[in-house]
């Protein structure tokens, strides 16, 4: 399912809303999660999962083609941990 399919499905379930509004709702939600993570905040959605930011320390990597050493700067990566309810549902326990 893609974002546009998600929007279509929600629009079908909510015929009283304009599709344009459904689009804005969906975009707002993901924008809000993204900006929170960019701020370094955590996003916790009970039952669904939690998004957080983890830092990766600077390290010396190698260019796989040439074998040359390259220093890789410290960076932050987004991380998602699925919630218990969703995990249980995936495994048919609910």
């Amino acid at each position: 399912m893609t974002k546009s399919e998600l929007i279509l499905r929600l629009a079908e379930d909510n015929p009283h809303l304009y599709q344009r509004d459904v689009e804005r709702i969906v975009s707002t939600i993901f924008d809000e999660i993204s900006t929170a993570l960019a701020r370094g905040d955590r996003v916790e959605l009970r039952g669904f999962g939690a998004f957080s930011v983890k830092t990766r320390e600077a390290r010396t990597g190698r260019n796989p083609r040439t074998g040359e050493s390259v220093s890789v700067a410290k960076k932050s990566v987004p991380f998602f941990k699925s919630g218990k309810d969703l995990r249980d549902r995936l495994n048919g326990r609910k």
Partner: protein, 141 residues
Amino acid sequence: MAENTVTRADLSEAVYQEVGLSRNESAILVESVLTEIADTLTRGETVKISSFGSFSVRQKGQRIGRNPKTGQEVPILPRKVLVFRASNVLKSMINSGTGDNSVDGAPLPTDSSDSVHQSQTAPEQPVTTFGTGSPFNQPGN
């Protein structure tokens, strides 16, 4: 930096501000979005949200684990796990320092008040981009 937690309530508030539905309906819609994604994943389908990331379900086979306390071998049953892969847009947003923590190597003037574990974790390494030859750790000469 005090790290905050964003919850459903914050997402609903943002939808309320942005779209102009009632607070109650905003909350219901945030919930429907999450439910729709969860239902799709439960069917085993991948969910791709452009410029955010994708969620997919991966099947894990059975393996032998160990109870770390007793050392006893226990089978870990086959199961499904949810994996999230962030899009490059999201990754670069997080690294471009819209946030407060200076991730791109610029050393912050450390206030004495909150420099508890700052002191040891500031390696003075110049940032070298991939591709340009690094002056460090090169063999020879």
